[in-house]
Assembly symmetry: C2
Homo-oligomer: 471 residues x 2
């Protein structure tokens, strides 16, 4: 007899499966103010691991962390025309502080270009102060009418980088370096996520940018999700804040800037890219707990053995947790570890011990087989790396098998409607075709060059548009 499913199956109702998984794996809850979320310890643990890894990569580029105020004078927002137009509908506004109405309302930051540029214009005096490379970890608020946990929330956590450079080329190269070395590399190698790196069309650009680089991932239902973005801001914000430097040649020049961000949305992507009908599958390199050693029963010999095994696995560098909660039913604990997506379970019962074996259950391939206990410490590091590679391969294969090469808007719409992506020559689509797609809730996720690289311009010959429905 088949057991009752713990989650709504993905094939029945993907959005409900997503919500079920987030609740049952204890990743997050809704907060009381519409669109806000409570990130529970298990979900926050994923974010902490992401932060550590990304923070090290960001620092390797020479970028330093700093912190800028949450509250921004409302008037600042209007200094850059495109920026205010982009963000005005999403703002949360503080009108009262300390029991009084404020002379000037303050907005809760939806992003920090404006407040950071107010500092940059003071800090940058000479070419010696450049490049100025700053990152901030924090929270932002964008009022969300159709919230969904992790994907679109009124408040979310992120890192936002902001840099100023002496030349256009330096700024352009730095934005690309972040997109490749920090974001794409992290998502592929740590999160085991297949992502397509491309440039946004003019319509899809960040408000105030002259170019936006993006990473797009295909979720389990074939929709796209935008992950990290990196923007060339040109001199738009420098003009708005008069951020100038004295060049080597003795001229006062405007700086060239970038900004780039990645958010708690990556947790939602992790769920929708790697999750299955039993729950989450956490990539081993990300997992705070890579292997759990479970005592099947509360037998003294078993308990002693699982603790000893835990120590041995720790000694070879595996992040391990011992589950000796034998007052809880074994089956319930297994379901919980499957929901939480811990890559490896090692189950130890009295009968296994007699044989010197344990059951090795691998969450990612979904395999289960007895192995000699003494071989585990030697085996596990390679098992975890194999599973890491398998996750990435599965996500790449999904994208490849569900991406259609098309040549008309109609075909592109059809591909998107049937749960996939389409690739169409940008020359055949153009801004007009892009507008037609929008009528069917299909968007150009990004443009890529013929050889798969990032196009140097929107109009470079051979550009291909990757189009899809998106979260």
């Amino acid at each position: 007899m088949a057991k009752a499913p713990v989650l709504t199956p993905r094939a029945d109702d993907f959005p409900r499966w997503y919500q079920d998984l987030i609740t049952k794996a204890e990743l997050a809850d809704n907060g009381p103010v519409r669109g806000t979320m409570v990130i529970r310890p298990y979900g926050y643990g994923l974010w902490e691991r992401m932060q550590q890894d990304m923070d090290a990569r960001i620092k390797e580029t020479g970028t330093q962390n700093a912190y800028f105020p949450l509250l921004i004078p409302q008037s600042y927002l209007s200094r850059e025309a495109d920026h205010v137009e982009g963000f005005a509908p999403e703002l949360a506004v503080v009108t009262h502080g300390g029991g009084k109405e404020l002379e000037e309302p303050a907005v809760v930051r939806p992003t920090s270009e404006m407040i950071i540029n107010a500092s940059f214009s003071k800090w940058v005096q000479s070419y010696r102060d450049l490049p100025l490379l700053i990152n901030q970890w924090g929270n932002v608020v964008r009022w969300e009418l159709r919230p969904r946990l992790f994907l679109r929330t009124t408040e979310f956590l992120w890192q936002e980088g902001h840099t100023a450079h002496a030349t256009y080329e330096e700024a352009r190269d730095f934005a690309a370096r972040i997109q490749h070395q920090v974001y794409a590399d992290f998502m592929r190698n740590t999160l085991a996520m297949d992502v397509v790196l491309g440039r946004k069309t003019a319509k899809e650009r960040f408000a105030g940018a002259i170019n936006t680089l993006t990473l797009e991932g295909m979720m389990g239902d074939g929709k796209a999700l935008q992950l990290g973005t990196s923007h060339e801001l040109g001199q738009n914000f420098a003009k708005a804040f008069n951020t100038r430097f004295l060049s080597k040649e003795g001229e006062q020049e405007l700086v060239w800037q970038t900004s780039w961000g990645s958010t708690t949305r990556m947790i939602g992507a992790l769920v929708m890219m790697h999750g299955d009908d039993d729950g989450l599958r956490v990539p081993p390199r990300l997992a705070a707990v890579q292997a759990v050693v479970l005592a099947v029963k509360g037998d003294d010999t078993v308990l002693a053995k699982v603790r000893e095994m835990g120590d041995r696995l720790k000694a070879v560098g595996v992040r391990v947790q011992v589950d000796d909660r034998t007052d809880l039913p074994f089956g319930r604990r297994v379901v919980d570890w499957e929901l939480k997506g811990v890559p490896v379970r090692i189950e130890v019962g009295p009968r296994d011990l007699e044989d010197g074996t344990a059951m090795l259950a691998r969450r990612i391939p979904g395999s289960k087989e007895p192995v000699a206990i003494d071989s585990l410490a030697g085996l596990l590091p390679a098992v975890l790396e194999d599973d890491q590679a398998l996750l990435l391969r599965q996500s790449r294969e999904r994208r490849e098998s569900r991406t259609a090469e098309v040549s008309t808007v109609e075909e592109a719409v059809e591909a998107a409607a049937s749960g996939g992506w389409a690739r169409i020559p940008w020359a055949a689509l153009g801004a007009e075709g892009e507008a037609e797609l929008a009528e069917h809730a299909v968007t150009v996720r990004c443009l890529v060059a013929e050889d798969g690289s990032v196009p140097e311009s929107e109009d470079a010959p051979g550009n291909v548009a990757v189009v899809a429905r998106a979260y």
Copy 2:
């Protein structure tokens, strides 16, 4: 000829010295909304090191990190009478979101008791769910009329712990464990700060608590600064949110709670406790850069040598930075490293190299002497530990020498007015004396027992009140 002072001397104008130091050491700037601050990379680096150290200590107690929303429905605040009364005058209120007036305004969290209890009341069902030990790193907003960078800012960064327990005793012991093992130990051993651990009087308690433990430090001008606090909340918030659990005996019972926090104010304390007329002095265990190796001149031999020395010091575990910016005047670089308080400077010039020596300048004792280059790697770890110990000793000696034992309110006021603390028997002072002190802007910082431990109650015989002016 004496060089012109870089900072206003402390003896001339302590508050101005503080502001000068923060600006010139590039710790922080004022933000555009009154009372907000920009934490610059060097200041934020201190915070990151504090966070890492504290986070590890917090996790050692079994506490897990999580994240709760910034925005709290205004009605939540009024559920606990003392709490709302304490925080109402400091609230920032969001009245508009997404272009519309909100049906119910939201407050920007001044602290998260209310929003966290809304979750706790859902998460806690049975005694098996207890203790529930949660910590959050984040920002809070308390409208500040007389702001001062790091000490009182409208927005600040902090960690706030929130726990729920089955019994009064467990909650009381956990609050004490945090205060001793996490806060006091961190401040003494990592920050090299002498702190007095005691309990607050009823008047000075956290809004909604039944007991508040505090750590008080004496600043360079003899005033007190409250550092970490840990609160026993009793069942006040459990009642407000009906947070109950099914006990082992099958009864529905209210949980017992604690909350505890420490903030970016610790950076201000670091400045005012360890700073001198040349700038900050960073305790070696905290310092991201413990030693800087300076090339006096841009001579090839010198440059090669300082890089080699940097590598050798790194190899013995010293956090070292090489300063080879020989296009900047040497004297200016020295002043900058002194301002920033890097514990050790090793200055290498062409003449030193001929002798095989370098100049070892120790910021904390203020000494400077030539040493054999080959001895440095062996010497430095012990030098740094000595300087760490010296800082703690200096701060303890300051407190001891500037604390008077008194027996009347008049003497206590006089001691505080002349830049020091006073100790007075609580039996001689009492709530009435406390009110008298307040007229002179003097407060009871905490009560300590006769033997220096934390009193079990406010009225325990032999309690001594530590009184002072405070930031």
